[in-house]
């Protein structure tokens, strides 16, 4: 507005300021009109009479998205996602890209694909292409609207499956179950149901980085980490919960519940029956909810017994309506692409609300038919789960042994598709900065994507999650050699 300054000298006295502002504004407006007229195309396209108006740039400004949307589109600053993106750009391939980045950042298993592949080739078509009475394929069995919470047969099959893989000591009632398009919507729906906008969930850390997006993107619910320490093998304690709860209250945050994974992610430890009792007792005292994400329940390879929170809930000691379980087939059955998850709740209102919300996240009917067939094939499921556990165990032993030989220990773990690796000896400085530097060196020099503890809100620097269930045996020595090289150059 350089026009205003010289004019101020010209306009003096009363009303001068007003006129002194008015004149440059008028001039500015006239200038804009002139420029706009010059900018408009001489020959508007004949097809639409309106395009003339539009192409003159008459719009008031750029249209905006919601304030909820703004942070979502921004480039991520989480090492968890950054690592995944870097692998995508340069993925290791034994044949075609031996210098690529080896993926240890995604908790996926391909160890039992051969079994699944065989089952699918023998059963998939029949399970999906249901025939009507005249023996002809009847598409209405897979094409039409079905209840969004999942077919009853699927919920029955899931209930049975979950009971089997969780030790057989707890039974699940299909009417308490809602089938979701994966574990991700299951978590979000529970957050919507159990907490109001602005409330918080306590979550033992280190925790799965995906929870940040799952909970924070749309629900408006806050996550408050409850720090666990290596001295406890990163197992949550009641005193830590108590401290976090009180601190939250002082800050004015209302805590609605506790969310935790069991087997835990990223550490891989299985919570003991005692710990589960402690957590539920604590929740009862504070009158809050408990969400137990048990998505790795069937991926247990150690000697410890897995106990579901559902088992503790029905023990009679507690009010079970505060207990909610999340499950899914992405980890135990290695079919994350199918998108099949479960919300299991003892609270009738939560089940009813979740059912209604499934209109936004339901499993396609043909996929439900396949899953009914798959989960009800108990002979196959027994064989599959036994092999799944066995092969994870074998891979775990190989991987951890390889690290041990490099002088790199791991936290004790009994479940999950990963291990929690202590790389403190490789840090140049014992700090978050040092850890992120090591993360970058692992990515760019050693060409390995491992998820740093910072991404998981771990209070102690130097820990990394390494997923090993998508590795071939031949990949492990390659990884160890790369880490050795990095370690040697760090020490020199």
């Amino acid at each position: 507005m350089r026009l205003i300054v010289p004019l101020r000298g010209v306009i003096q006295g009363r009303g001068g300021l007003f006129v002194g502002s008015l004149i440059p504004c008028c001039l500015f407006y006239v200038l804009q009109l002139y420029l706009k007229r010059r900018r408009s195309p001489p020959d508007p396209p004949p097809t639409s009479s309106r395009s003339n108006l539009f192409s003159r740039g008459n719009s008031i400004g750029r249209v905006r998205v919601s304030s909820r949307a703004v942070p979502v589109a921004k480039p991520t600053d989480s090492p968890y996602y950054i690592g995944l993106e870097r692998v995508k750009a340069d993925p290791y391939d034994q044949m075609n890209n031996r210098d690529g980045i080896i993926q240890l950042g995604l908790a996926e298993s391909s160890l039992c694909f051969d079994l699944l592949q065989r089952w699918m080739s023998e059963n998939l078509m029949e399970s999906m292409m249901i025939q009507s009475d005249d023996g002809e394929f009847d598409i209405s069995s897979i094409a039409m609207y079905k209840p969004f919470e999942g077919l009853l047969e699927l919920r029955v099959a899931f209930a049975d499956f979950m009971s089997r893989i969780m030790g057989g000591n707890v039974s699940f009632d299909p009417s308490n179950m809602v089938i979701t398009a994966g574990g991700t919507p299951a978590i979000e729906v529970l957050a919507f149901c159990l907490a109001d906008h602005g409330n918080a969930l306590l979550i033992p850390s280190p925790y799965y980085p995906g929870f940040d997006r799952d909970i924070k993107f749309r629900t408006g619910v806050e996550l408050i980490p409850v720090h666990c320490r290596s001295s406890d093998n990163f197992t949550v304690t009641v005193s830590a919960l108590e401290q976090a709860f009180n601190q939250a209250r002082k800050r004015g945050s209302k805590v609605s519940g506790i969310l935790f994974s069991n087997p835990s992610n990223p550490v891989g430890n299985i919570l003991s029956r005692e710990t589960l009792h402690d957590i539920l007792r604590f929740a009862q005292e504070k009158n809050i909810h408990v969400i137990s994400d048990e998505i790795f329940a069937g991926s247990v390879y150690g000697d410890k017994e897995f106990v579901s929170m559902a088992e503790v809930a029905v023990s009679g000691e507690f009010d079970k309506s505060r207990v909610h379980i999340i499950y899914g087939l992405s980890k135990d059955l290695s079919i994350p692409g199918f998108r099949a998850g479960v919300i299991y709740s003892f609270h009738e209102d939560v089940v009813n609300a979740a059912k209604k919300l499934m209109r936004f996240s339901s499993v396609p009917v043909p996929v439900q038919r396949i899953l009914i067939s798959l989960l009800s094939d108990t002979r196959f499921i027994e064989e599959y789960m036994a092999s799944h556990r066995q092969r994870i165990r074998e891979k775990y032993i190989r991987f951890v042994e390889g690290l041990k030989q490099l002088g790199i220990p791991c936290a004790e773990s009994d479940g999950g598709l990963y291990c929690w690796v202590d790389m403190r000896s490789l840090l140049t400085s014992y700090s978050e900065k040092g850890e992120l530097e090591l993360f970058e060196k692992l990515l760019s020099v050693a060409k390995i994507n491992a998820t740093p503890g910072t991404a998981c809100y771990c209070i102690e620097p130097g820990w990394f999650r390494c997923c090993f269930t998508a590795l071939a045996d031949e990949d492990i020595p390659v990884i160890m050699a790369r880490i050795r090289q990095l370690a040697e150059s760090a020490r020199s």
Partner: protein, 394 residues
């Protein structure tokens, strides 16, 4: 007759799925390798081949009058999820979307439940065939303004549910003009675009945008689509947000993790939809059959003395029973609805559930049943009307 499902062309789908190599249609032609990718694939970008097939299908429906870029397609588990997701992205809690009445009752849930966003109706009436007028738009804006509610966009369904009619090109242009002036978004739910009886009568907002270069205009336009109506596959849960706004595409993609389309479904449909010979035939035959059904029901209702709104699309007709109302009120309408439900055993949707400002209109679906069943329904209506006439005469 209350559920807008399309069963008229199931036979076409069945014969396609049976004929083609099952392995091929399930997970592409890669066989064993295909399964591995299928099982693990959970990339929120969606399978490129599937997005390309979807884009091509959407272009075919519009007779090639608009092009769709597969990279602007964001997949969601159904249009329900697409509408909700767009609402999260375009509006904050307590903001509003303007929606012309009568509208699909599901919007009350889909657009509002979790988003905290409000719907302010744009009142349309039969005096001008329920078309949106600039006055109605301004009036809706004023209502929002008076209630201190910020308007973030207009959401239309084109072809309209429950009217069963396409929106005129001029109205679309006026709408876009309005949105530009108010600096708000325009969402066009085109879920019934493939169910327009005569393709030439449909103008998609995509065609309007096709001729616009100004990004600040284009980037406020978003289209929702799904296979639930045109392909009769609501059980498959396949929907999309197609946005001309890069930021919305990026955001929607990331948020689609809550509502991903199963990789299995993507594979199954990708090969079917890339078969242009099949899709061209399907779209054509589907339209013909829907038109025939529409004509049957409208004729049948006319013979019974009932007039319908002149529609040209969709899986339903908009029937005018206002002359049967004892009282021209919502209660009067619901009483009549109750009678039709209990005595005629026909489930149709009352206009008040669609927020229609005139009482006595009902939406009647005709594509979710066999032709036999449709005949039976018409017979019941005939008898009911005969009885009514006799009663009135006496």
């Amino acid at each position: 007759m209350g559920l807008a499902e399309n069963q008229v062309s199931f036979d076409l789908l069945e014969s396609y799925l049976e004929k083609k190599n099952p392995e091929g249609s399930m997970w592409g032609s890669k066989g064993a390798l295909g399964f591995r990718e299928n099982a693990l694939f959970q990339d929120y970008h969606g399978l490129k081949s599937f997005r390309q097939a979807m884009a091509s299908f959407m272009e075919q429906i519009r007779g090639g009058k608009a092009r769709f870029d597969p990279d602007r397609i964001v997949l969601t588990a159904g249009a329900t999820a697409a509408n909700e997701l767009l609402t999260f992205i375009l509006a904050d809690p307590n903001d509003a979307l303007l929606v012309p009445t009568p509208y699909y009752p599901g919007f009350d849930r889909d657009l509002r439940w979790r988003t905290g966003v409000k719907i302010v109706p744009i009142h349309c009436d039969s005096s001008n065939h329920f078309q949106i007028t600039p006055e109605a738009l301004e009036s809706a804006c004023q209502t929002a303004h008076d209630a201190n509610i910020r308007v973030r966009g207009v959401l239309i369904t084109n072809p309209s549910n429950p009217l069963g009619a396409t929106v005129q090109k001029k109205v679309l242009e006026d709408l876009l003009d309005f949105c530009v002036r108010k600096n708000i978004h325009l969402v066009s739910d085109e879920i019934y675009s493939g169910s327009v009886f005569h393709a030439s009568e449909f103008t998609s907002v995509a065609e309007i945008v096709e001729n616009i270069d100004d990004v600040t205009v284009k980037e406020r336009v978003h289209i929702v689509y799904s296979f639930s109506k045109d392909l009769g596959l609501p059980g498959f849960r396949v929907g999309t947000i197609y946005s001309y706004n890069d930021s919305v595409v990026r955001t929607a993609r990331r948020m689609s993790s809550f509502t991903l389309v199963s990789s299995q479904t993507q594979h199954m449909l990708a090969s079917m939809l890339s078969d242009e010979e099949f899709t061209e035939k399907y779209i054509r035959i589907n339209r013909e059959r829907l038109l025939r059904r529409y004509e049957t029901i409208v004729e049948g209702l006319k013979k019974a003395g009932i007039e319908c709104f002149k529609g040209n699309a969709g899986l339903f007709c908009w029937m005018n029973l206002s002359f049967l109302l004892d009282k021209k009120t919502k209660d009067g309408e619901l009483e009549l609805w109750d009678v039709i439900l209990k005595e005629l055993k026909l489930n149709i949707s009352p206009g008040s559930s669609c927020h229609c400002s005139e009482y006595g209109w009902f939406r009647v679906c005709f594509a979710n049943m066999s032709e036999n069943t449709l005949e039976i329904a018409l017979k019941r209506i005939h008898e009911f009307m005969d009885q009514r006439r006799r009663f009135l005469i006496i």
